[in-house]
Amino acid sequence: MSEERSLPKDYYECIEELQAIDFVLVELTLYLDTHPDDLEALKQYNTCAKKRQELKEKIEQRYGPLQEFGNSYSSYPWKWATTPWPWQI
């Protein structure tokens, strides 16, 4: 039997917010790899890194760990290896 479960709208919004801030971080990372002396870009990178850390913690409190191997905390029972996985949602 297939199990259809709907996720709250808030989950999709949270993930997309994280995708947006992380995308800025990906772009700044590649840029800084070839522009290591650009101080303004570096400051922006660090500001965004702090914001993404806060957002990650907020999402994890609501929906469980985003990362494995000790980079996220888990409540009981073990929440990491549970659905949904990113390709399923």
């Binding site: 999709y12 992380d22 772009e27 590649l30 522009h35 002396d37 985003l66 990362q67 494995e68 990113p86």
Partner: protein, 189 residues
């Protein structure tokens, strides 16, 4: 080591069950200019390239795995609930006979992935020029798939991936500039 994060790099939505489109998309999964080839190519080059560009190869190589997961998501969703009959009509009968709905690292013609898609010359300029060419070829593949697809959601994600090829090509071009710079001079900024 690598860390996994439980999210896609970009939201992937699919309008309709469409195994025919999945057959085309698999080109970017296990094809010569696909995301797997890209990730393996860049990460493999890191060991024998000047230190100044190792970071860039690491980061672009890592991002390619996120793109591989986006393509896998599209293929998975496009075929998830298709019947064997639908797969047969989509030209995926031979795939089904061997793999059911399992994803397989193959190109759109069904050729299995091969490491001969990836060169490794050990010459920094030759390797970076290969990377630039790989990005332009992947960009072209995305264009050809967009030209055949009428799924607006898939096209939205494919346009994102196409744009990433443009940005990666830009960074590899900058890496060449960094390596060819006369030593002891600072040309930029």
């Amino acid at each position: 080591m690598w860390l996994y994060e439980k999210k896609l790099q970009y939201p992937v939505k699919v309008s309709t069950c469409n195994p025919k489109l999945a057959k085309f998309l698999i080109e970017q999964y296990g094809g010569a200019d696909g995301e797997l080839a890209a990730a393996l190519r860049y990460l493999n080059q890191r060991y024998t390239i000047p230190d100044k560009v190792i970071g860039l190869l690491t980061d672009i190589g890592t991002e390619e795995f996120a793109h591989l997961e986006m393509i896998a998501t599209m293929v998975y969703k496009l075929t998830k609930d298709a019947t064997p009959e639908q797969l047969k009509e989509a030209g995926l009968g031979a795939h089904y006979a061997n793999h059911d709905k399992a994803l397989f690292y193959e190109n759109a013609a069904g050729d299995p992935f091969t490491t001969t898609y990836i060169q490794a010359k050990g010459d920094p300029i030759a390797d970076l020029y290969e990377d630039i060419a790989a990005e332009e070829k992947a960009r072209a593949t995305y264009q050809w798939i967009i030209n055949m697809s009428d799924d607006p959601f898939i096209n939205d994600a494919l346009k994102f991936l196409r744009e990433r090829e443009v940005v990666h090509s830009q960074r590899f071009r900058e890496a060449v500039e960094i390596l060819k710079e006369e030593q002891g001079k600072k040309k930029y900024f």
